[in-house]
């Protein structure tokens, strides 16, 4: 264990430490509970600094620490920041909700911070068992948090569903790792690629193993056909937490997926690459179509956003169909866009719905545009961004992804993608017209529109707009960071 090893683990250590401190404070001085949000947000900011420190000293394009288990590169740094952003937004959005529901407790913040630590770890793992361990670390936090609202039945239902399927998928992943190890004799992704190249054809074990792994991470990203858990879980889990659940695990899993495909590409077996291209294209098309079409039928805004998330992961996969170094930048921009607009939407939903145990009907926010102008405007901006309407970052993300697809000669897939997103526009607009064009039916009671939650909503909506209008600095930085 060298100094470099320790520094590279700085963000995770900060998050874990802060979680423990908050848990202790919760036991010693429960009266301080209201300040936990601030504490946790500060520790997220410090962790971001830690991530910067860990990245700053990196010589060359990427840097391996802990004997090659963890990688620090521009891409992992950028995605770490995206995850920390999601964590921060979720923390800000949570306090009002937790206080309103009377379930404010230190565990929530601690679990969230640990979860973020697990995600950061998985993001950087280059070895399959490390990836698996961090997958379990954050998954357990997610299961617990999904059930955090103990008093409402659908929260428990959501958590159980998520847990059972998640546990099942974990075994998939583990089995996949075992098969891949059996076929190649290594669990290090960097070694698996060349070993695959050395073998004659593609070993069946390796293919199956990879398939199981891809399925596992596709589950975490809720890609069709591994998506069934997400609408149920989103519906039941505490809404501000869904702002995190619906984005952060997808961010980390997307990079792992990229690494897996990268291993195939670096294997260089043309036949294998071709087959995987087809598999990813099929997953992308299925997700775009199924996600968008099912979202159309939803009346519950949380379920609608769950299906929209499925569709968005489909667009994201478009960038990964043809694997090259260049697809990393569109993926990162798309993930950042997705974090901002989706977390922003869930933040507002968490604040404007007063009955967490019941359905969150879209029609319940009818006419709120005039009663809660600021929050409604934020929600509307996030919806337009999810629909890919300029000048928002949602549009720019789609632009990059579709440009990537067109550049790879996949014009057909790009056309399919834009048609799918047209379907998407329909249900995103539904939220906007309920907000502004319908008469108010019911005024919610006992809302707690605190300054933290407003901040989260405004940050997300403003970020969506600002990055939509001035995206180049970000893109340029990402291009430099991912290229070197």
């Amino acid at each position: 264990m060298t100094r470099a090893d320790l520094i590279s683990l700085l963000p995770e250590m900060i998050l874990c430490g802060a979680g423990i401190v908050i848990l202790l404070l919760d036991a010693i001085a429960p009266k301080l509970r209201r300040s936990f949000t601030l504490l946790a947000v500060i520790s997220v900011a410090v962790a971001a600094w830690g991530a910067f420190e860990a990245w700053r000293g990196v010589p060359g394009p990427s840097f391996l620490t802990w004997g090659g288990l963890l990688e620090t590169s521009g891409a992992t740094y950028a995605l770490s920041l995206v995850i920390l952003l999601a964590t921060g937004l979720c923390l800000l959005a949570s306090q009002g909700y937790l206080r309103r529901e009377g379930i404010l407790a230190g565990e929530y913040h601690a679990l969230l911070l640990w979860c973020a630590a697990g995600l950061l770890l998985m993001l950087r793992g280059t070895e399959l068992l490390t990836i698996f361990l961090s997958l379990e670390l954050f998954s357990f936090c997610l299961y617990t948090l999904a059930a955090f609202h103990r008093r409402i039945a659908i929260a428990s239902e959501a958590a159980i569903k998520y847990f059972l399927m998640g546990a099942f998928v974990s075994s998939f992943v583990l089995y996949g790792i075992a098969m891949l190890y059996g076929a190649t004799g290594s669990t290090r992704l960097a070694e698996i690629g060349p070993k695959l190249a050395g073998a004659e054809g593609i070993p069946v074990g390796a293919s199956l193993g990879l398939l199981l792994l891809v399925a596992g991470f596709a589950f975490k990203m809720s890609i069709v056909p591994f998506h069934a858990w997400s609408p149920d879980t989103y519906q039941g889990a505490p809404t501000p937490f869904v702002a995190f659940l619906s984005v952060a695990p997808k961010v980390a899993s997307a990079l792992v997926l990229y690494r897996l495909l990268d291993a195939v590409v670096s294997g260089g077996v043309a036949e294998a690459i071709e087959k995987w291209t087809v598999v990813i294209a099929a997953l992308a098309v299925l997700s775009m179509l199924v996600g968008n079409l099912l979202a159309l039928a939803q009346r519950d805004v949380k379920r609608m956003l769950a299906y929209s998330g499925i569709a968005h992961m489909g667009y994201l996969l478009l960038a990964l169909v043809v694997m090259d170094r260049g697809s990393l930048m569109p993926v990162i921009v798309y993930l950042l866009a997705y974090v901002l607009m989706n977390a922003g939407a869930f933040t507002v939903v968490a604040m404007l719905y007063d009955r967490p145990g019941e359905q969150h009907l879209i029609s319940d926010i009818a006419g709120h545009g005039y009663r809660y102008p600021l929050l409604s405007a934020c929600l509307a901006i996030c919806m337009l961004s999810l629909g890919g309407i300029p000048p928002t970052v949602g549009f720019f993300g789609k632009y990059l992804v579709f440009l990537n697809a067109v550049g790879d000669g996949l014009v057909g897939l790009a056309v399919l993608g834009v048609l799918a997103s047209l379907v998407g526009v329909f249900y995103y607009l539904r939220v906007v017209y309920y907000l502004y064009m319908k008469a108010e039916e019911r005024q919610p009671e006992g809302l707690l529109l605190d300054v933290w939650g407003r901040t989260a909503a405004v940050v997300a909506a403003l970020g969506t707009l600002v990055l939509g209008i001035w995206p180049w600095e970000l893109v340029q930085w990402l291009l430099e960071a991912t290229a070197r």
């Binding site: 005039y370 337009l384 309407i389 300029p390 000048p391 549009f395 632009y399 579709f402 440009l403 067109v406 550049g407 014009v411 790009a414 056309v415 834009v418 048609l419 997103s421 047209l422 526009v425 329909f426 607009l429 906007v432 017209y433 502004y436 064009m437 319908k438 995206p471 180049w472 893109v475 340029q476 291009l479």
Partner: protein, 526 residues
């Protein structure tokens, strides 16, 4: 930062485009009950914008009445993809820009009483819409054009959806989805072109109009690209058979929304054909011309016939728009200098006369809350001023000589006859039908005995309403008696586009996409 300020404060296109959007911001801070203050403020902003526009026009209008191409610097916006912020005004966009800015205060005056709720939001939507429309007309970079094209959608969606009639949400969503369906395919087309450009240009990206003109695609690829662009614009125009959103949108939209929709938004479709679809893909245009001519003719006759049988004034005017825009499309498809001049003039004419008709229908609706013919009759005796303006606008729309519609239609028919032949004959029937349905409207509402007692007490037009209508009528007459003043500024730009088009047509067929050193349009200087 400094350049942004300089652009915003100077007599520039940037100021023209962004002043309304920036002037929206104070609307957020008006107290909730201060509706009148909001109205006056929005009107003042639109009038200042008009002053800016006139100032800009006379700064650049040549002494001989021609309008040169004026642009302002190219600023990189999204560097790595060569996306530029570049606004250019030439003879083609100038009349439409002026029309758009000219209509805004009129629309606001026309909506003074009709819009009852949420005035700050209405004013903001109108001003943002102005920015979107102007940006679309002036953008000289395809990416920028696309952004403005989409930005324009949201405020119009809100205008129809918040202040519209009973089925407003259906109409608003339909409007949004139809427009979006086309434009998303256009986006893929634009991406394809830009990507091809950078492949042929050694990895250097560009979305600039002039650079896109340098691309030569083989015919089979041109056809696809043309299809993507043409579909987008055809939906906006709207051409038969993708016109179905228009009657819904018009009928449900509030008066102001209808005026701005007919007055300027529809023109962006025909503008798109003239600026992008035709000159970028001349060979594909040649392939698609027969089909599009047919569709334009069907649009003319179908729009007119359907307008004839309407029992609702607003629906009648809405369907007449389809017929009029069919004329414009026919003129554009003739690929002929005279027809193009007529088409461009007719775009302005339609904005003036149909705008006035929608305003008048709205004024009647404000008084009686109905638009059915059966509810009216004999209005000339009760509201003579109203009757005068309705007849004036209808006659302009029909194409009575000495009013604007005649000049546009005559030029279009002349040009079409010269280059296409028989379609001009068919289109002439459209003129006859226009006379029939508009005169029917006048007959049923204004002449005859007063059939309903409610109509005996109608108030005539107020000063505000006359103030909204008079400027429109002045221009209808002015264009009718002195059309040359309005044709001259555009002549050179149209000729240049025509030369570009014909050169593209004569260029030898290429086996795969190639890049020419320069485009003709850029050769003629800026």
């Amino acid at each position: 930062m400094e350049t942004i300020l300089q652009l915003l404060l100077g007599n520039t296109l940037t100021r023209l485009v962004f002043f309304p959007a920036i002037a929206c911001l104070p609307l957020l801070f008006f107290p909730r009950r201060a509706t009148n203050a909001v109205k006056v403020y929005t009107l003042a902003v639109s009038l200042i914008e008009l002053v800016f526009a006139v100032l800009y026009l006379f700064t650049h209008l040549g002494a001989d009445g021609t309008f040169p191409r004026v642009g302002e610097g190219r600023y990189t916006w999204i560097e790595g993809y060569g996306i530029r912020y570049e606004l250019v005004m030439d003879g083609i966009s100038m009349p439409l820009v002026m029309l758009g800015i000219f209509l805004v205060p009129i629309v606001l005056l026309g909506s003074w009483k009709g819009i009852e709720r949420h005035w700050p939001a209405f004013g903001a939507s109108m001003l943002l819409l102005t920015t979107g429309v102007l940006g679309t007309l002036l953008a000289w970079d395809l990416f920028l054009f696309y952004i403005f094209w989409e930005v324009m959608l949201v405020p119009m969606y809100l205008i129809i959806g918040i202040w519209g009639g009973e089925r407003r949400i259906y109409a608003a969503v339909k409007f949004f989805l139809f427009t979006m369906a086309g434009s998303l395919l256009m986006l893929v087309g634009i991406l394809w072109m830009a990507w091809t450009f950078q492949r042929l240009n050694g990895g250097v990206w560009s979305f600039a109009y002039e650079d896109m003109l340098r691309l030569d695609f083989p015919v089979h690829q041109q056809v696809w690209l043309f299809a993507a662009f043409a579909l987008t614009f055809a939906i906006k125009v709207p051409m038969f058979p993708v016109h179905t959103w228009l009657p819904d949108a018009h009928v449900e939209a509030p008066t102001g929304g209808s005026v701005i929709l007919a007055g300027i938004l529809l023109k962006l479709g025909t503008y798109g054909f003239l600026r992008f679809a035709l000159p970028l893909f001349p060979k594909a245009t040649e392939v698609a011309q027969p089909l599009l001519v047919w569709l334009a003719l069907i649009g003319i006759l179908y729009g007119a016939l359907v307008a004839w049988v309407q029992d609702d004034m607003k629906k009648l005017v809405a369907y007449s728009s389809i017929a009029h825009l069919g004329f414009v499309m026919l003129g554009l498809l003739a690929i002929d200098q005279v027809a193009w001049e007529g088409a461009l003039l007719q775009m302005v004419n339609h904005g003036l006369s149909t705008g006035a008709l929608f305003l008048l229908v709205g004024m009647l609706y404000d008084r009686r809350h109905t638009k059915k013919f059966s509810e009216f009759g004999g209005l000339a005796k009760v509201v003579p001023l109203f009757a005068f303006f309705l007849i004036f606008a209808s006659l302009a729309s029909v194409g009575l000589p000495a009013l604007n519609g005649f000049v546009g239609e005559f030029l279009i028919l002349t040009g079409v006859f010269r280059s296409l032949g028989w379609p001009a004959v068919v289109a002439t029937f459209g003129v006859v039908l226009a006379a029939i349905y508009l005169l029917k409207m006048i007959q049923l509402t204004i002449w005859g005995p007063i059939t309903k007692d409610e109509n005996r007490e109608l108030r005539d037009l107020s000063f505000r309403e006359v103030a909204a209508l008079v400027p429109l009528c002045v221009f209808m007459l002015w264009i009718g008696v002195a059309p040359e003043t309005f044709l001259k500024p555009s002549r050179e730009a149209l000729a240049r586009t025509l030369t570009e088009f014909n050169a593209g047509l004569e260029r030898p067929e290429v086996a795969q996409a190639t890049l020419r050193p320069t485009a003709m349009i850029s050769e003629t200087g800026r």
